[in-house]
Amino acid sequence: MKIYNGGKILIGLIVFAALFASPFYLNRGKATAKPELKIDTPEIQKLEDKKCVEPKEFMRAEHMQILNNWRDAVVRNGDRNQIIISGQKYDKSLQNGCMKCHSNKKDFCDKCHNYVAVKPYCWDCHIAPKEKKS
């Protein structure tokens, strides 16, 4: 079998493969550190029983689903019943619920969202609390 302009094509293919794979070999061994979230805001430290509305593992994986459910409950069904966790009441609200404890958006929300390169548009409308040192 004969390839017309075989040499050029082969060189081209090699250059293409090298470029295509460049992100992989250039970044090898340079893995970004896993984001460590800070959950020691002054508000959380004041809590006697430091419990979120669901277990940590569940929140980590499904918090967006919970926020969607809360949005539907509050905005569409007008259901604002508060959630009780060990005697403490929490609003079903991002701005007036979650962020009342997690007052460190940069070290809590953004860290992970930046790491996984997602850009949720929550903060286009909802107002983030004033950043506090944790």
Binding site: V53, E54, F58, R71, R80, I83, K89, C125, I127
Partner: protein, 274 residues
């Protein structure tokens, strides 16, 4: 390999049942894994079946009181002020009699009535035209009569603005957070809106759940009476039964729920209307 039609249908049927049953079973099992949190029923909330408002124009005597009411609403709800009519966002605003109740004005009406600023807001109609045209159901009628909007769903098509005969809806042509008044002060308890969505008065649904009346009614010293029109014992029903009231454009059949008591000629100043 060959297969006759009978065998093929059997296998297809069994795999369909296994597929549907399997997913249902998996879903049911997954649901059980969720820790259901306890909820506290909200007992503070004001509840009603058809919220409405009666606005007594004879009690709104000065520009200051009108300004105070408008400001209270716009401040609580982070309404941007761009100081130009094109980008204007309004939840509660004023208009002349002629523009508020078109067709009811005449040459010989009292001069002060012609220029009196009438306080206007969303009418929370029984048959809201805006709700009918919304392609995403972003705006909808709640069980208590409030015409609500879900800003998460609004795609900014502005059909509702075209449909509303009262001009109650405003579009965010600019990012509201760029407005000077919002850069100076934002209510941290209430969200702003984003560029490209339509907004309007929500009858303070967020205050009703806390047992508070709408901000405008609270700020008005009794000129704006808020209440449940379906409750015959309510204050608003007593007012409507005892005084003559008019509504904006009732002929359109949207059944607005804001009533105006016109009366009074004691408004002497000709105000700047905005």
């Amino acid at each position: 390999m060959s297969m006759n039609r009978r065998d093929f249908l059997k296998i297809a049927g069994i795999s369909t049942i296994a597929g549907i049953g399997g997913t249902a079973l998996a879903g049911a099992l997954k649901k059980g894994a969720l820790v259901a949190p306890q909820t506290a029923p909200n007992t503070d909330a004001l509840t009603g079946k058809r919220w409405g408002m009666a606005i007594d124009m004879s009690k709104l005597k000065s520009d200051e009181s009108i300004k105070r009411i408008t400001k209270a609403c716009h401040r609580i709800h982070n309404v941007p002020d761009f100081s130009n009519t094109k980008d204007e966002v309004k939840w509660i605003w004023t208009e002349t009699f002629e523009h508020s109740f078109p067709g009811q004005e005449h040459k010989f009406m009292p001069e002060d009535m012609k220029h009196k600023p009438f306080l206007l807001l969303c009418n929370h109609c029984d048959n809201p035209a805006c709700v009918k045209v919304c392609p995403t159901k972003a705006t909808f009628k709640r069980k208590d009569g409030i015409v609500m909007q879900d800003m998460h769903r609004c795609i900014g098509c502005r059909f509702c603005m075209a449909a509303c005969p009262f001009g109650a809806r405003s579009f965010n042509y600019k990012d509201p957070r760029l407005a000077k008044n919002l850069q100076e002060h934002m209510n941290p308890e209430f969200p702003t809106r984003t560029i490209g969505v339509v907004e309007k008065c929500t009858f303070c649904y967020e205050r009703l759940v806390k047992g508070l009346k709408p901000a405008c009614a609270e700020e008005s010293n009794g000129a704006l009476v808020f209440g449940d029109l379906d409750d015959p014992a309510s204050e608003i029903r007593k007012i409507l039964a005892s005084k003559h009231t008019i509504r904006r454009k009732p002929e359109l059949g949207t059944e607005p729920n804001i009533y105006y008591i016109i009366g009074g000629n004691d408004y002497a100043v000709v105000p700047e209307i905005r």
